[in-house]
């Protein structure tokens, strides 16, 4: 069981005193990679094929895997430096490379993009997609709903530790038909007045914006507009549902619940 899974947590599970290459070598050796850089087949163990003969073959396989990983993960320039000198993004990529070098069939990624800059995040998305393309099942948790929308085949929404919804992004979005309507007001007074009329809306005092769940259809929108004063509205947008709406609707606690994580699943 343990041989088939790979885990990358929120905190870098790397050896900071070792270089990137040495970290990868450590994982390759512990995974007992064979000549082709694959983990040993289960039947090898069970029919008693000598681990020592596997070992001699493993040196070439492990070396090839250790050479290939820094190229795939954009770590070639830093692979010879101690990992403690790495930037946050480099640490995260090394961490993931160490998980994937063992070729797990099921990968758990616990908020792998938290704290990454947009470019590193996109690079990580590419890596996750590559894994899925070769048949790996990835279970990824994230706070970024946009990320779940981009990556996941199936999404589970967790609220307070309980699974409150599960399905594809499209299925989840259908549960909140109207999307939302954002209204930006000209002054705080008008914002406050509208917020009283729409207690279900979430309010952003900084940008003077009120975000209201849409009811879908022209009639609902007209009713909403009738309640607004022409003079006090600076800007208005109508959006179709995104996962933020789904999350807010499902957890039912408005903006205050935004801190609960979303689990997403990409099955091969």
């Amino acid at each position: 069981m343990r041989a088939a899974i790979g885990v990358t947590g929120q905190f870098s599970a790397i050896d900071e005193l070792l270089t990137g290459r040495e970290n990868l070598r450590l994982m390759a050796d512990l995974a007992h990679l064979d000549r082709t850089g694959r983990p040993p087949a289960r039947s090898d163990r069970e029919n008693g094929r000598s681990p020592w003969s596997r070992r001699a073959a493993g040196w070439t396989g492990a070396r090839a895997a250790v050479t290939a990983m820094p190229e795939r993960f954009d770590l070639v320039g830093v692979a010879g430096r101690p990992a403690r000198t790495y930037s946050g993004g480099e640490k995260r990529r090394l961490d993931l490379a160490m998980t994937l070098i063992a070729r797990p069939r099921l990968v758990f990624l616990d908020e792998p993009t938290t704290g990454l800059d947009p470019r590193s995040r996109r690079e990580l998305w590419t890596i996750v997609r590559e894994q899925v393309a070769v048949g790996v099942t990835v279970l990824l948790t994230t706070q970024y709903l946009e990320e779940a929308d981009h990556l996941a085949d199936r999404i589970g929404v967790l609220d307070g530790g309980r699974l409150v919804a599960e399905g594809t992004a499209a299925q989840l979005k259908r549960r909140v038909p109207g999307g939302h309507v954002s209204v930006r007001f000209t002054d705080a007074h008008a914002l406050a007045a509208a917020a009283v009329a729409h207690p279900e809306a979430s309010r952003d005092a900084e940008t003077l914006t009120l975000r209201m769940p849409g009811e879908g259809g022209i009639a609902g929108l007209r009713r909403l507009l009738d309640g607004l004063d022409d003079e006090s509205v600076a800007d208005l947008t109508v959006s179709s549902a995104d996962l933020d709406d789904v999350f807010l609707a499902l957890t039912g606690r408005g903006a205050a619940a935004a801190a609960a994580p979303i689990a997403q699943e990409i099955s091969a």
Binding site: R2, G9, A13, I14, L17, L26, D29, H32
Partner: protein
């Protein structure tokens, strides 16, 4: 998990620990410097006076005689000092994320510990050779032959091995790296209440009984016999017995601490 896989994973972990020793040499230097400082202190500050009180020398011994007398105690301190370092490196290791990763992997789990112990054995050998060379530099000479020295080094490595299993446990049990560097200090202090620095005959009754029966005394007496080329006698078996007992208990304790479900 078969035996060959266990050995293989342990050797991989050993390589990791040797790389740590190479990347962080100041810890090793400090651990080896400590017994050397004690050696200089005892020979040059106290040696003249203490040497005069040694039995078996007509009209008392001198500084040179005292140097020969305390070498076994200093070597034991060297081994204990390296073992203390292992408590620190084990505790430091437990604070890092990579241990959590090891726990999720399909490896021989105790190999994390055996890697530390094997690394400590190599560090112990290195430290013993350096401290012995230093003693020769200060004028230590004896009638011991190569076989005696081989026996002495073998015994020191065995002592190091058993003390290390104990300090690995202390490192795992410590709630912080700071406390891991304090709790094993008793190992460095315990040789003072033994036959290491003065003959136990000079101590008051209660203390003398403790000193004569604590584990370090048969170890030190055996080492003294070996490095001076004398016969070791029954102390050798007592010393080996103590080592085996400490190693066994330390090993069982450390394994239990390491394999328990992490609190987090």
């Amino acid at each position: 998990m078969n035996t060959t896989d266990t050995v293989r994973d342990s050797l991989t972990m050993l390589r990791r620990n040797l790389l740590h020793i190479r990347r962080y040499p100041s810890l090793t230097v400090m651990l080896i410097a400590q017994p050397i400082v004690f050696l200089l202190l005892f020979v040059y500050v106290f040696g003249g006076t203490l040497g005069a009180g040694l039995p078996g020398h007509r009209g008392g011994g001198d500084r040179g005689d005292y140097l020969v007398f305390i070498i076994p105690g200093i070597l034991i301190m060297t081994v204990a000092s390296v073992a203390l370092g292992t408590a620190i490196s084990t505790a430091t290791d437990m604070t890092t994320g990579i241990i959590a990763r090891f726990r999720t992997m399909d490896i021989a789990r105790a190999s994390v510990l055996t890697g530390h112990v094997l690394g400590a054995v190599i560090r112990t050998s290195l430290a013993v050779v350096i401290v012995t060379a230093f003693a020769f530099l200060l004028g230590f000479r004896s009638g011991a032959g190569p076989l005696d020295w081989l026996g002495a080094i073998g015994l020191l490595i065995l002592i190091g091995f058993s003390l290390t299993w104990l300090t690995v446990g202390l490192g795992l049990a410590a709630d912080s790296v700071e406390s891991a560097s304090n709790t094993p200090l008793f190992l460095v202090l315990l040789p003072f209440v033994s036959s290491a620095f003065v003959p136990t005959g000079a101590m008051p009754a209660g203390l003398r009984q403790f000193a004569e029966h604590q584990p370090f005394t048969p170890m030190i007496d055996t080492l003294r016999a070996l490095v001076t080329g004398a016969a070791a006698g029954s102390d050798l078996w007592l010393a080996i017995g103590w080592c085996a007992l400490i190693a066994l208990l330390g090993c069982l304790w450390s394994r239990r601490l390491f394999l328990r479900v992490p609190a987090r």
